[in-house]
């Protein structure tokens, strides 16, 4: 064999494996928690196209370039694209999900603060990508 004690190396390998397992499990757990929308979440269909966002509420109301939501209500976005890859992003609420043609991706959140928040495309999608922006209006429940 090697002619020297190898136990520190095995301890090192064990600690590294344990830390990697912990990091993986912790990340997987948080991702799972934030993936599961509450049962009463309202569905909003989000469609990205060059170069604006369209929102369709569950009652059929449509909005373009702006989105009005109620504070304290959970919303589940069903996100797709009509042309190329986009990515729907509300930076203040850490909402980020790709918009892919022919596919529906989901993400959910609860707006906690009233006010105006920017929303934008976070995947380069062509000439006017920089201006594919909108505004999220969070209003107090009536």
């Amino acid at each position: 064999m090697s002619g020297h004690s190898t136990w520190p190396e095995w301890v090192y390998i064990g600690v590294v494996i344990a830390l990697l397992v912990w990091v993986g499990a912790e990340s997987w757990n948080i991702e799972r928690l934030i993936d599961h929308a509450p049962a009463d979440a309202q569905v909003i269909k989000v469609t990205g196209q060059q170069w604006f966002w369209t929102f369709e509420h569950s009652d059929g109301t449509k909005e373009i370039g702006e989105l009005h939501l109620q504070k304290g209500t959970p919303y589940k976005f069903e996100i797709t694209s009509k042309d190329v890859l986009h990515s729907f992003n509300i930076p203040d609420y850490v909402v980020l999900q790709d918009a892919v043609p022919g596919r529906i991706n989901t993400v959910w959140f609860v707006p906690k603060d009233t006010g105006e928040f920017p929303l934008q495309c976070r995947e380069y999608c062509g000439l006017i990508h920089y201006n594919m922006r909108g505004t999220l209006y969070v209003e107090d429940t009536a």
Binding site: V21, W22, V23, N29, I30, I34, P38, W108, V110
Partner: protein, 87 residues
């Protein structure tokens, strides 16, 4: 080999099993109201804490290693190859 198996058992009992249990016990469908900002940033801070601790330990070990085994260290002993001039 026995030592490896023993260490694997200890690691499994102390770390792997509690982690799996912790993960499987958390959260049920449908999801609960939670603030994804808080969850995501907390995860980030926890992982950064681990990353910086590991970084400190690894770089500290390397610095000690270089300092301890430098040629000019009074405690340095030549290897048997160096001592006999066999290279």
């Amino acid at each position: 080999m026995k030592k490896v198996l023993g260490l694997s058992c200890i690691v499994t009992i102390l770390f792997v099993l509690p982690t799996i249990q912790y993960v499987l016990a958390a959260g049920d469908e449908p999801g609960e109201y939670l603030d994804r900002r808080v969850e995501i940033w907390n995860l980030f801070f926890r992982l950064m804490t681990v990353a910086f601790v590991i970084g400190a330990v690894v770089s500290g070990t390397l610095i000690w290693l270089v300092w301890r085994f430098r040629e000019s260290n009074p405690k340095a002993k030549p290897t048997k190859y160096e001592a006999t001039g066999e290279w």
